[in-house]
Symmetry: C2
């Protein structure tokens, strides 16, 4: 079947530009060697744009990111000139909100033990998937601060969850678990201290889990679960959690299997079909422009994008090629993985491993 798809590429800042560039090489390679053509356009918004224009994303931009678009590939955002990542927050969080990308999907696999800080017998075979709720919780920006005349101040931020948001992410986690032959879904929260939201999640989790009675379930506190993630990551299967705890578990999990440089993520709205794919890593200003950024997380993200485009044949092949590459000796790797290879060397090696 001959298919044509269109995606948008948002390189962002720092190494985001470099790693998306590598992803484009893989797209070109597949475009030239098959009938599965993916066309791409760039949406170049970055720190420079923000500093010049004072904004990074307008509501009116949204149309160009969705009309006739089958997916978005994102690099990374963040620049030392902009404190607290204001522009990154504006861009990423606004995209998640306005496109209602409520599923943050983070698959975490120990592809090769040698990158993990953990002892081999602790991490080998770890294969977990985090479903992070991506629109509410502490990310709603509800809050403010009050100043007293005496110079004192108080600040508040409110975490908010509705059954609507909680239900749809929980359901997504269970449905994915069923479709992918997984055994268990764990809910991770802090219901013993953050009681109202904790109660809501637990009630809905129990209710929805009844519809999936082949799937085992667990309910855990975030503090103990982080401890478990480092001491026994292989015991973790599918996890569903709030925006904040999902963020923490996703990064921690990436650290457990060997760093942010190799972990992809997806932000998906399963109803509308709009989805944005990005490495878990940031823009790494310290190594930007040196040609040594690790493109692996971006290429895994691209694989997820091909899956999403219903070109999972290519998703599988890219993933297999990157897996195979990661198992090679470390001399073939970028410095973050202990080697001396450059960014484009890595992509070349991976492309040569893609079955066409």
């Amino acid at each position: 079947m001959n298919t044509e798809r269109k995606i948008i590429i948002i390189p962002g800042d720092g190494i985001g530009k470099e790693v998306t560039n590598e992803a484009v090489k893989v797209i070109e390679h597949i475009n030239h060697s098959s009938c599965d053509v993916v066309n791409y356009e760039y949406f170049n918004r970055d720190a420079d744009f923000y500093l010049e224009h004072g904004y990074i994303l307008k509501d009116s931009d949204i149309k160009s990111l969705t009309d006739g678009v089958d997916g978005i590939l994102f690099g990374a955002i963040g620049d030392p000139r902009i404190p607290n990542m204001e522009h990154g927050r504006e861009l990423l969080l606004k995209l998640r909100q306005s496109l209602d990308l409520y599923v943050n999907f983070r698959p975490i696999r120990a592809v090769s033990n040698c990158y993990s800080p953990l002892k081999e017998n602790r991490v080998e075979g770890a294969d977990m998937v985090i479903f992070r709720e991506n629109t509410q919780g502490l990310y709603t920006q509800v809050g403010g601060s009050v100043a007293g005349v005496d110079g004192t101040q108080a600040a508040m931020d409110t975490a908010y969850y509705s059954t609507h948001s909680v239900d749809r992410i929980i359901r997504e986690a269970f449905e994915w678990a069923v479709a992918n032959d997984r055994r268990r879904v764990d809910l991770v929260d802090k219901a013993n201290a953050v009681t109202n939201i904790g109660q809501l999640w637990r009630t809905r989790f129990r209710k929805i889990s009844k519809e999936f009675n082949h799937i085992e379930t667990g309910e855990h506190y975030i503090d103990a679960y982080c401890q478990r993630m480092v001491s026994d990551p292989r015991s973790i299967d599918v996890v569903v959690s709030s925006n904040l705890f999902g963020d923490i578990l996703g990064d921690l999990g990436a650290g457990v299997v060997g760093g942010l440089g190799i972990t992809p993520s997806a932000n998906i709205n399963p109803q509308s079909g709009i989805a944005l794919f990005e490495p878990v890593h940031g823009s790494a200003p310290d190594i930007a422009g040196k040609g040594i950024a690790n493109p692996v997380a971006s290429l895994y993200s691209l694989a997820l994008l091909y899956d999403h485009l219903r070109l999972d044949k290519w998703g599988k092949r890219i993933t297999a090629a990157v897996d195979e590459y990661l198992q090679m000796a470390s001399s073939h790797k970028t410095p973050d993985l202990g080697g001396e290879a450059g960014t484009s060397d890595v992509t070349e090696q991976i492309i040569s491993l893609i079955d066409v």
Copy 2:
């Protein structure tokens, strides 16, 4: 100098009863072999008490825990019959609030590499201290939930911080760093998403850090910091964080160096001098009553208690004895550390290592 002190022991539930029992053996040993006598009384509130009386701690109990009392040794709380740890929350959180134990102090050391899930070259020598703010943040129980007629529901929990609370914990971290020859204090928050509270902490942190200009500082996001804690724990020195993030970092750190079974913590009000010491681990109902609970975290907690009583001579000796014991072959250990020893065997070994 002949000194007499009085402490209260709250064994709590499950293995809490067992491990505090071991701590008492050490107290008795020191009482008999020196003039530094520590008298103790029990405050026996546990799940049974809660199930019988419907409460676990009344305001009127507080007096007996403070009048003429120099410190509190706590075991652990939690019972499978009581969902969401209602009684634990009531007891622990109420004590922290009503005694205003605003410093949660969690020293985390890689005493022996063999218990850590991390590769030896990643963890060896790790030595970090977490200062967790212990009274506000998401633990204020401000919030609620609303139900719609259509069966939908929304829940809210508000994180709250005042300059007063933020300042005193930040100051405590810096003062401790100076007194203990530490190099750096890191602030860990999520200022890029939880903006109002993030802003307050960062502003006060920068202001207060100016008074301690020999100490380096860092400002980090919790997600990236968790990743760092597992990939490079030796790069972490002193950390100050909110109630929720401090809770997470404390447990994660314990996991990184080898499990909750060996990590102590303290809840302190430096002004009033009231303080409560407890293992980081819970009541472990699955192994309670079997005589195989690991008393190490409780004995380290006891060492912190002796420090607090200005009997740091004994604090140091207990710590040294436990350190030495932990470096022994694993056959001398309880099952959680890979051995077959029982709880009281461990204490016997440790007592024999205490210099008297």
